[in-house]
Symmetry: C2
Subunit: 292 residues, 2 copies
């Protein structure tokens, strides 16, 4: 039964603290502005701007309290609508925590999660201090207890498929099979949706939540990715896994999935439109627009 | 007396018909999203989306009636607030018509207009069918009578300074001195604001309206200009004058002007963030976001 567009919540979540990079906030504003108009309810979570005193590391996580505040605000926004489906526009990857936790509670074992990402996002504070890399672990009930408390029905590893995953760290490489998760690299897919469909059939799930981290895309083809920061040094992202997908391949896979299951969640995350970010800052140098 | 930020109207005008290019609408949405937050009232004019039947040429002007409708809506929006100053975020260059007509009526001969643009925008339907190239002429009382009717106090040529103007057509080359207007090329300025200040002093004006068409910028340095359309053929913009300014030079000139006069109008026009425009269209190919 396809989702009624009027029952789809549009959740704008300009969260930057999970990646500890204030420019995610500008990217989120642009993404919300260019997305097709929502036909159902729309909520925009108020996320605090940069302030150095909000970037404390607590219990191994940067900006832990502001992130918990954003999480609470996102959960309230969702609860106000009881939606059948949620489109979440980030912001950093952690924006998927509230909506997919809600969808997991609502649809239970009927929900599969497609994690379309160059990174597995299953680290904890022990491995990495930026919580955008913890989000899928948290959704599975693993990680900082105050975040995991927002997940009433953890997603089982067997219900998670990585789409477009590339190189992983030893911790991640072990974690994935140990939790019954499946990974498909760009080369496993080879431009076809069939491996995804085969996995989905085997999972038995009829509802699908999609987390689309734009960094699954090939940075040599798209300039709006974190790693394409024109102000970064040449080695700033050395050793960080890069995506190798094309947007139209992701769109094709999701379209085929949409034909056999109900897509009830779609997150777009980690959009960094560098030229718009530059102009946003440059506009502040003009009279009537800048600070006096 | 500097302008009270609470008396500055933010006017978002996603008009595309004046340039006959629907993508101006997306650019305007991005510009409104990345601009510093307005401290005073904000109005967004509802501009119709593309529809082929709205692109008729009437009396030599493409989309003449929709443009008159937008003009009426912009005038109403301004009239609701009686602002001391207006920041207008376009959209095509014609967006300056309503706000600068209002400022001219309000401040009379005390108003100077800085037209920061690679093009003089003084053509009429006789020379060119896209009205974004008519806007300054209309503000001077020259052009299509139904548009000019919105200008109760025409701006005198002696009160207009071109900043960054480059090559002009024979019609434009004659028009400028014939109407007592002054032009400064990027080379006349040579990175200095002094020629602008000298003109401003001589004008006697204490209030300044600025029209900043981003195409005054050098397209080899900025990729968000009409002429940088990645889908256009290599000769698509042959023969069209290109800008040769840098953003920081424009900002410096405006900052110096702001120190000696009150800037009461600022328009940003013709923003074409091609990569965001591409993503905006691509998002429509995804489930939950695209048309069903």
């Amino acid at each position: 039964m396809p989702v009624d567009p009027k029952k789809v919540l549009r959740l704008n979540l300009p969260q930057w603290q999970g990646g500890d990079h204030p420019d995610y906030r500008i990217g989120a504003r642009v993404l919300a502005a260019i997305a097709p108009k929502a036909l159902g309810p729309e909520e925009t979570v108020a996320v605090a701007a940069t302030a150095s005193d909000q970037r404390h590391v607590e219990q191994g996580i940067v900006s832990r309290q502001p992130l918990l505040d954003n999480l609470a605000a996102a959960r309230s926004a969702i609860a106000r609508h009881n939606p059948e489906a949620i489109v979440t526009l980030g912001g950093d990857c952690l924006v998927s925590l509230a909506p997919i936790a809600y969808l997991s509670e609502r649809y239970g074992d009927d929900l599969a999660v497609l994690w379309v990402d160059a990174h597995p996002d299953v680290m904890t504070a022990k491995e990495f201090r930026n919580a955008h890399a913890h989000v899928l672990g948290m959704l599975m009930g693993i990680g900082d207890a105050d975040f995991v408390a927002a997940v009433s029905k953890p997603v089982k590893g067997a219900k998670v498929l990585y789409v477009g995953l590339t190189e992983t760290t030893p911790y991640e490489t072990d974690f994935i099979p140990a939790h019954g998760m499946t990974r498909l690299s760009p080369e496993d897919l080879a431009g076809s949706a069939e491996p995804v469909l085969a996995w989905l059939r085997a999972s038995g799930a009829k509802k699908v939540a999609v987390h689309f981290d734009l960094d699954v895309l090939d940075p040599t083809l798209y300039d709006f990715l974190l790693s394409q920061d024109p102000t970064a040094g040449p080695d700033a992202f050395a050793g960080v896994a890069k995506g190798r997908m094309r947007f139209e391949d992701v769109a094709k896979i999701l379209g085929v999935v949409d034909a056999v299951a109900d897509i009830v969640g779609l997150t777009i995350a980690e959009y960094m439109p560098w030229n718009a970010i530059w102009l946003s800052k440059s506009l502040q140098t003009l009279p009537l627009l800048g600070k006096r």
